[in-house]
């Protein structure tokens, strides 16, 4: 008799082949590359062990990129999730025009990173930016604020732009989790507890906690590896104020033709990402990963 249980490997084989071809092999090849001197301008690809790792970790660019990327991730991921959950809770309510508001909230999601970057440059630009224009018109400033040209401000400007682009995804997933909560549970909570905050904390949050963990992990990884939006807004500047670690992968590999060093940076990013996933899932245990709170 044919059953799915009879030939499990056979049924999994098509998917496994795709995973092997498009994930396992490239990752393994990248790891191999990181252990060899692979420079397109030099013949041969000799084994060099951890030399690429030692070399890239000794550079100022790596240290700066790591610090900026870690800070960016630590700020962006919680902000996206907090804003996403708050907006999802708000949009769950029925009010006049709620469907239109929901559509507008999703808008940043459909914009490519480069387009979002242009929009935000138009917001922050000192000569023709909307924000400086408004501040000047209301008399709050005499001369333009160099938002993207001041190291201490540029980082937060790109952070705001990045969070704006990521919020819609968090909203959609949180709304899906909210919709899955048993209505009777919510009705009982309404009767038993008048405080909205307490209802959220003790009834709603436990129900959506798994999704929040997913969002935190996802956004942490996205923020840590982000490239396009920041690149298009600032090119990593001023100075190294917004230079992220992903820039270094690109620079070592494609600008310096040193794929060994580029792969080493990429694998160091993977190690950090694994550490982040473990840290988040330990800090916020949920049944999502087979752990019981």
């Amino acid at each position: 008799m044919w059953t799915l249980r009879r030939f499990p490997l056979l049924w999994l084989l098509p998917a496994l082949l795709l995973v092997a071809a498009f994930i396992a092999y490239p990752v393994a090849h990248a790891f191999w590359t990181s252990l060899h001197r692979v420079n397109l301008l030099f013949p041969g690809e000799p084994f060099v062990g951890l030399e690429n790792y030692q070399r890239v970790m000794a550079t100022r660019q790596f240290r700066t990129g790591l610090r900026n990327s870690a800070t960016f991730m630590a700020l962006a991921a919680p902000l996206v999730v907090l804003a996403g959950v708050a907006i999802a809770l708000f949009l769950q309510r029925r009010f006049r025009g709620s469907l239109i508001v929901r559509s507008i909230v999703l808008l940043p999601w459909v914009l490519p990173g480069a387009i979002s970057a242009v929009l935000w440059v138009w917001v922050f630009h000192p000569s023709f930016g909307i924000l400086n224009g408004v501040l000047r018109n209301i008399g709050a400033i005499d001369s333009s604020i160099q938002f993207l040209n001041t190291p201490s401000l540029a980082f937060y400007c790109v952070l705001v732009a990045y969070v704006w682009t990521q919020i819609p995804f968090a909203v959609v997933l949180t709304m899906a989790a909210l919709a899955a909560i048993n209505r009777e549970t919510l009705e009982a909570a309404m009767i038993d507890c008048r405080s909205g905050w307490k209802r959220f904390r003790f009834v709603v949050f436990p129900e959506i906690k798994a999704m929040v963990v997913v969002l935190l992990v996802y956004n942490a990884l996205m923020a840590f590896t982000t490239y396009d939006l920041v690149y298009a807004m600032t090119g990593g500047g001023p100075g190294t104020a917004t230079t992220l670690l992903a820039f270094q992968v690109w620079r070592e590999g494609f600008s310096m033709y040193d794929f060994g060093a580029g792969s080493a940076v990429a694998f160091l990013m993977v190690l950090v990402a694994v550490a982040v996933i473990v840290a988040i899932t330990r800090a916020l245990p949920s049944d999502l990963f087979g752990e019981r709170p």
Partner: protein, 426 residues
């Protein structure tokens, strides 16, 4: 129609198709470009295809910031590429890696030498590697010092001829309410950022390297060292407004709130575009400040890949295509010059009446000619592109005061010398 009728019609159609002569001679060239004025590129390609039956050209485009890495990936991954836009800074590395072929290997004998004899000196230098000519200019230009003439007139400020005068004029304008008089294309990831710096150093009459390719810019008496100190000072005095792309330079200068910038000449054409910019006509070109008035000249060019050169049919088609785009009578180069203000490396176009008429609308031809005549080619070696990728972030950091000028120049010189030694032993 009955099923039988349909079947008969299908059989007839199939038979007619089978009787068509097989177009075995048709060749498709893979042409890779960055996406500046893609509509014009496509139109030029259509004209080539019409004039050359049997050769089709498939255009693939990338954005300028992504171009170099996309090409490296294509070469590395073996993606078929026949003709491409090349750059002077990438040529030595790409040719040394065996990715490009000298044009002499695909062109009829003497054809390349004839075209080379009509090329501007800096352009010829930029397309030459180890004695071989690897490209014909798509465009060749200089980096120039531009200013808002109306703004300077209003404030009674003369056009500066030295960098000290630029600083003084900027301070005067700032005192008069012009907050950041200098607009500077500042993006450590773009080759332009380094090119513009070199152009300014050339303006001072200096260079970053000596004749033996030793790095000399870490000497405090060197013009490059001094100019980085100048830039750092200008940033510190809040006289500079950085812009991370030339398109923003055009818009920003057209707000009328800024006086000076250093960019490619075609940016001046865009700034003075009457149909598109509110202050068109206010901007003019001056010789690069610094006393010497020299600047960096460069060429972007059509090149053929070694892969295409290895196949006689594709090699012949590739040469026909490159010759159409950049060879005599220079129709395509002229079109770029007239319609888009792109400079050219083909000297006969300097005397072309249509070019002169079109350019007179946005630039003083006498000043431009003097600037072009004093333009110098850059120092492009197999490791220059690698080194500039390392050096640009140092420049950027030093300008805004994150590291000292001495740190930037010392680290840059150390890396240059290390790469030079590595490549010597390759």
């Amino acid at each position: 129609m009955s099923v039988r009728g349909l079947a008969a019609a299908a059989a007839l159609g199939a038979g007619a198709l089978a009787l068509q002569p097989a177009n075995a001679e048709e060749i498709t060239l893979e042409f890779v470009v960055w996406n500046y004025a893609l509509d014009v590129i496509q139109d030029n390609v259509r004209q080539f295809e019409a004039a050359n039956p049997g050769i089709r050209v498939n255009v693939t485009d990338y954005t300028w910031p992504d171009y170099q890495d996309s090409l490296v990936l294509r070469f590395r991954g073996g993606t078929r590429t026949d003709v491409l836009y090349g750059g002077q800074d990438w040529l030595p590395a790409w040719a040394a890696a065996g990715w490009l072929a000298p044009l002499e290997s695909i062109a009829p004998e003497g054809a390349v030498a004839t075209l080379a004899s009509e090329m501007a000196g800096f352009a010829l230098s930029d397309v030459t590697y180890e004695g071989g000519i690897y490209g014909l200019p798509y465009y060749a230009d200089t980096i120039s010092f531009l200013y808002n003439a109306r703004l300077l007139d209003e404030h009674g400020i003369a056009v500066p001829t030295t960098w000290d005068e630029v600083m003084e004029a900027s301070e005067a304008l700032k005192a008069a309410g012009i907050d950041r008089p200098i607009v500077y294309e500042y993006n450590q990831e773009l080759p332009n950022f380094f090119d513009a710096f070199v152009a300014q150093v050339y303006g001072r009459g200096g260079d970053l390297f000596d004749d033996e390719l030793n790095a000399i810019f870490d000497d405090p008496d060197n013009a490059a060292y001094q100019h980085l100190e100048w830039l750092r000072e200008a940033f510190a005095r809040e006289l500079v407004q950085p812009e991370n792309h030339e398109s923003n330079v055009i818009t920003t200068m057209n707000t009328g709130e800024h006086a000076f910038t250093v960019v490619y000449n075609y940016v001046l054409a865009a700034m003075n575009n009457v149909g598109a910019q509110p202050l068109a006509g206010d901007f003019q070109l001056a010789r690069m400040p610094g006393g010497e008035g020299a600047t960096l000249g460069f060429a972007k060019f059509y090149a053929a890949t070694a892969d295409a050169a290895a196949d006689p049919a594709r090699a012949e088609a590739a040469w026909k295509f490159i010759e159409f785009m950049a060879g005599q009578p220079y129709g395509v180069a002229k079109r770029w010059a007239v319609e888009h203000g792109l400079g050219f490396g083909q000297l006969p176009l300097l005397d072309d009446a249509d070019v002169i008429e079109a350019w007179s609308g946005w630039v003083d031809m006498d000043v431009l000619s003097a600037q072009v005549a004093s333009a110098r080619a850059g120092t492009w070696t197999e490791w220059t592109a690698v080194w500039t990728a390392f050096f640009r972030p140092l420049l950027a950091s030093a300008m805004v005061g994150e590291i000292s000028v001495d740190e930037a120049m010392s680290e840059g010189a150390e890396r240059w010398n290390m790469l030079r030694a590595q490549f010597a032993g390759r």
